[in-house]
């Protein structure tokens, strides 16, 4: 019996995407390759539909139509928007898909590669915090339409990526054990001869290194950090994780959070929420939902929350909280 690893890499959603599928049946090779091409097409399609950086995307059209009454939207946008509003509800509003205006005011108003790393401070007044504003969005299941208030705009970047990762992993799973990774948001379904997938966990302060190894038998991993996408305006260091309670970049005690969850959407949302909440609230959030996480504080301290399936953590200033 010959076991084959099929692997496909491409770029989508402004990040690198990898898809791995194991197969013990050579006759499935053509199906797997077709499945990988389908996966690449799906990522491209979701990006075209949900990117806030594309003026022609369904999301951009909806944002432009904010305040103009109910708008019928595409099935994909509907599905991801419903998932985002569920996450907002489940996190008590800490995850908020309506922070786009605050994010743009902070300087993240174009693709990150095009952002000036250092610039003058924004003189215009910041928009009012949108905490709990997501509750004002009206959905109509019958017509699949959305009524978006005029002062809100949606950003579905992170959760759209997680949704696509989950969708591809589940769709390809009948062909064999599968791993899908989109910029660090990853999902596995199935194992190879019962052996877990080894996944490196990036060292937060030295991103070229791994600080831990996760042996993933199922579920998803996602990592969020305030150190990745950051820029300077005036004398302020800003980043892309907005605290909806303040409308500005989160200013907690955590620098990076890696979360293990049953699916990529949950992992992606939880990583951002914990980063905003900080060590105290973040730990409670993880434990209450039976997730697990690896936290790194801004001072370098590390904390394992729950049963995070890791090994070989660099043994410095770490402690365990279960």
């Amino acid at each position: 019996m010959t076991t084959m690893l099929h692997e496909h890499h491409f770029r989508a959603m402004n990040t690198g995407v990898g898809v791995w599928v194991w197969s013990t049946d050579a006759e499935r090779t053509s199906m797997i390759r077709a499945g990988m091409r389908w996966a690449e097409g799906l990522f491209a399609g979701v990006e075209a539909e949900l990117s806030r950086f594309r003026s022609t995307s369904a999301l951009s059209r909806l944002n432009r139509a904010a305040g103009h009454g109910p708008q019928e939207i595409s099935p994909t946008l509907w599905t991801v928007l419903v998932a985002a509003l569920d996450a907002a509800h489940e996190s008590g509003g800490i995850y908020d898909p309506t922070v786009l205006r605050s994010l743009e005011h902070a300087g993240y108003d174009r693709s990150f590669d095009a952002i000036e790393p250092i610039g003058p401070e924004e003189l215009n007044a910041p928009p009012a915090p949108t905490f709990d504003a997501w509750r004002r969005i009206r959905l109509d299941d019958a017509t699949r339409s959305v009524d978006l208030p005029g002062d809100l705009a949606l950003d579905l970047g992170g959760i759209a990526k997680g949704w696509t990762v989950d969708h591809v992993a589940l769709a390809l799973a009948p062909l064999g054990p599968v791993l899908v990774d989109a910029g660090g948001d990853l999902r596995v379904v199935g194992t190879v001869d019962g052996e877990p997938w080894p996944i490196g966990v990036q060292e937060p302060f030295r991103p070229e290194r791994d600080r831990a190894l996760v042996r993933l038998r199922s579920g998803a991993l996602a990592t969020s950090s305030t150190g990745g996408r950051r820029w300077q305006r005036g004398d302020r260091i800003l980043h892309h994780v907005i605290d909806p309670r303040t409308g500005t970049s989160a200013d907690g005690d955590l620098y990076a959070v890696a979360v293990h969850a049953p699916d990529a959407i949950t992992a992606d949302v939880a990583a951002k929420v914990v980063l905003v909440l900080g060590t105290g609230g973040g730990t409670a959030y993880v434990l209450k939902r039976d997730l697990s996480a690896l936290l790194t504080a801004t001072d370098g301290r590390e904390m394992v929350v729950g049963n995070f399936p890791h090994q070989e953590v660099v043994p410095h200033a770490s402690f365990h909280c279960a």
């Binding site: 010959t2 052996e195 991103p207 990592t223 150190g227």
Partner: protein, 142 residues
Amino acid sequence: MTIVVDADLTAAVHTTIDERGSETMRRSSPMKTAPPTGSAKAARAQRPAGGSAASGQWWKAWVLLTSLGVTVLGWVAFSTGEPPVENAVVAPDTAPRPTQVAPARHMNELEQTRPLPQSAGMLPAMPQKPVFQAPVTRTRRS
């Protein structure tokens, strides 16, 4: 060990038992071994005369010793021509064991080898046990 006996020697001497039960030896054909030398004739002349029984014992001993010598010479000549059977059998057992087991291990590797797809970029190491010898990918900050 194989001992080769010259067929001519068996034809050279026949031992028969007569009706009286006395053992006699007679020459039925010329011996192809070296004939008696002059010194041998002299030695034979010095033997006690008239003893037929004693003379038969001498011939018997002489033939046995000669045939034994020829046999030894033949064996030596044979052994230089090809290796002893015993050596041929022992040789494989003394060969290095890795050489003997290498083919089986190689087959095992072939059965578990993962063919690389054309689109392969980063791959873990070859899959013995465990399947993965390095992280497949990494979760990184976003």
